[in-house]
Symmetry: C2
Subunit: 373 residues, 2 copies
């Protein structure tokens, strides 16, 4: 079951899930603006009010330039060369709201768009573009007190190195030096790393805004690299959770508890993850039910009542995905868990697929449910 | 004088300063290994024990692929296409030890090497490569207690936004909650940003190692973006220090002093910067001599005794550059300052140019001299 689930997650991660909402497209409105994720001063890529993306890339002597976004398996967006040596093109339809990874194929080689910022996904630094979402306010940078995101280097005997994690501390953390906080351990997906949740996920801004609105009890978030053992596509069956479980449970958690003001009991510790990070969350919470009190799977599979049977009961099981994924499975799993007496909550992100807007929204839904029991 | 200095710094920053040490080169030793700055799992670019770099980039249908590194103004390293669709090439000679930015021109367009990690320089995210230095131990990741590097978002009324800075706190920071620390404000160069000193500069590791060896008094480092007003090449004369000085002195320093355990008097506050950051350091320390007690210019110009005349006397003036820059000017400036009664120290990094190994070494020399008077 686990390897099958992993196969599904891999497939979801590797398939370009940029969907077009209609077969017949409306006329393209010429109100394109630079994407909010462009490198400083770069005019392209651009996005219009309908969600179309337009690309412009200089390569005067190239024979072909193609952007991976736009037509999924059908080859993305093919750019055409102008007399000025710039290749331009617009997606064939509006794209889903939110964040998308992409890359550019130039004469058969895979490169990034020099206009866009880079984000680690698919085991490489990819270009990123943002289609403004109608609900983007919840992860906007606002004039509210801001928490910090700090890089820590923690000792790891099992991997014989110092490993990196990022720790979000809420705005109040430096004020009241006696207060201790619950901790959420939050994992990225396959091919991503510990930078994903703060870079493309805006986890820190989501928290800052929720805290400013008084909607959540402030807590710490810890994000580290979850592909401790390499997971190559095609070798999924060889995946073992043990190396990462050791790093997380035996090395990182004790380090965080020793170096931050944390509440160290099970009911003040949560684990959640997206996609493959959800699968890791499921495996580790089931192996170590005494360590975590709250579980979250974001586009990362489900728990069945029998998975939890006979173990320390979780305070909360949160299961989510995008409406363009498999929402029925998520909803049914929560229904089954509730029927079996568990506190289970499902969430389906409207009109999104296996991408980061689904997970930003999922974190926004999950956070108020944590550490309240 | 200031604009002339800035012109020199711009020229230094924009000129590819990768020098070859000999006219006649030794035979290339075939012991190439992946650069330490490659993306995970990437075999290329590679570096050999002599300092040659070898590149391998897939672009089967391209007509020309050229790497900017290797021959400076003479066009870099031209790659040649193999039957497998990969373009390969080796620099014509050994490169200087340390970190180098580069990019790849493919059929006339400028892209990055998909094998290498990216670093912000030249107002774009560039590819980076590391030629192992004989003295690299001082910035190596070792089994010592590690400080944290945290991203803060501080309110800035003058620019009407929350601005980002990175704050290094020493390993002891979370242990003794009553201890307060001095602060070094450390600036990047033209075209770089607040990520430079920890990413390509390894400022945190340099500090961790010096602290572990008992060679310095632990202090905090704060790094923020110094090109608050845009500085375009060709518009140098329009550069004004005021916008950045306001952000630094009136907004960032009060925020840091309110949110970290800092010693807030002049003699516990230093400012230093590399290249254009050195020029900013000079301007701001001369405008605000009551704010900073220690000054450092790293490949960023010099102070003359008459610059400091009649102002609050600095505890230390540190001036450095690479031996391939203008070391005589740096040495002479320190001599003149000492003759005029100032505590001045010069440092010349051996066999390096206007690049990051010069600045890593400079920080390593500067740190033990700070906050000791």
């Amino acid at each position: 079951m686990t390897t099958k689930l992993l196969a599904v997650l891999f497939a979801a991660a590797l398939t370009s899930t940029t969907c077009f909402s209609q077969a017949s497209q409306p006329a393209v409105v010429e109100d394109f603006k630079p994407s909010s994720l462009n490198q400083p001063g770069q005019e392209y890529p651009q996005v219009n009010s309908q969600g179309y993306a337009r690309f412009k890339i200089k390569a005067p002597k190239a024979d072909s330039v193609r952007v991976s976004l736009g037509l999924g398996g059908r080859g993305g967006t093919i750019l055409t060369k102008g007399e000025d040596g710039f290749w331009t093109g617009t997606t064939a339809g509006p794209m889903d709201e939110g964040f998308h990874y992409y890359n550019v194929t130039i004469d058969g080689g895979k490169f990034n768009d020099p206009g866009a910022l880079n984000y680690y996904g698919s085991v490489r630094w990819e270009s990123g573009i943002e289609i403004p979402a109608h609900d983007q306010d919840f992860y906007a940078l606002k004039e509210v007190p801001h928490g910090n995101v700090q890089q820590i280097l923690f000792p790891s005997k099992s991997t014989n190195t110092a490993r990196r994690a990022f720790v979000y501390t809420p705005p109040s953390y430096e004020k009241d030096k006696s207060k201790k906080y619950p901790v959420l351990y939050l994992q990225h997906g396959w091919g991503e790393d510990e930078t994903a949740w703060s870079n493309q996920g805006h986890a820190n801004l989501i928290m800052d805004n929720l805290i400013a609105e008084g909607k959540i009890k402030p807590f710490i978030i810890v994000m580290t690299y979850g592909m401790t053992n390499e997971v190559k596509f095609g070798k999924i069956r060889e995946f073992k959770i043990d190396p990462f479980q050791t790093v997380l449970v035996d090395e990182l958690i004790p380090y965080v508890d020793a170096n931050f003001r944390t509440l160290t009991n099970r009911d003040n510790r949560a684990m959640a993850g997206l996609s493959m990070g959800g699968m890791e969350t499921k495996m580790i919470t089931l192996n170590k039910p005494e360590t975590f009190g709250y579980y979250g799977l974001l586009s990362g599979g489900v728990y069945a009542p029998e998975d939890l049977n006979g173990k320390a009961k979780p305070k909360l099981v949160f299961i989510s995905c995008g409406s363009k994924e498999r929402p029925d499975g998520v909803t049914k799993a929560a229904t089954d868990l509730k029927a079996a007496g568990y506190n289970a909550v499902s969430y389906v992100s409207d009109k999104t697929a296996h991408e980061f807007l689904t997970w930003r929204r999922s974190l926004h839904e999950l956070a108020p449910l944590l550490f309240n029991k």
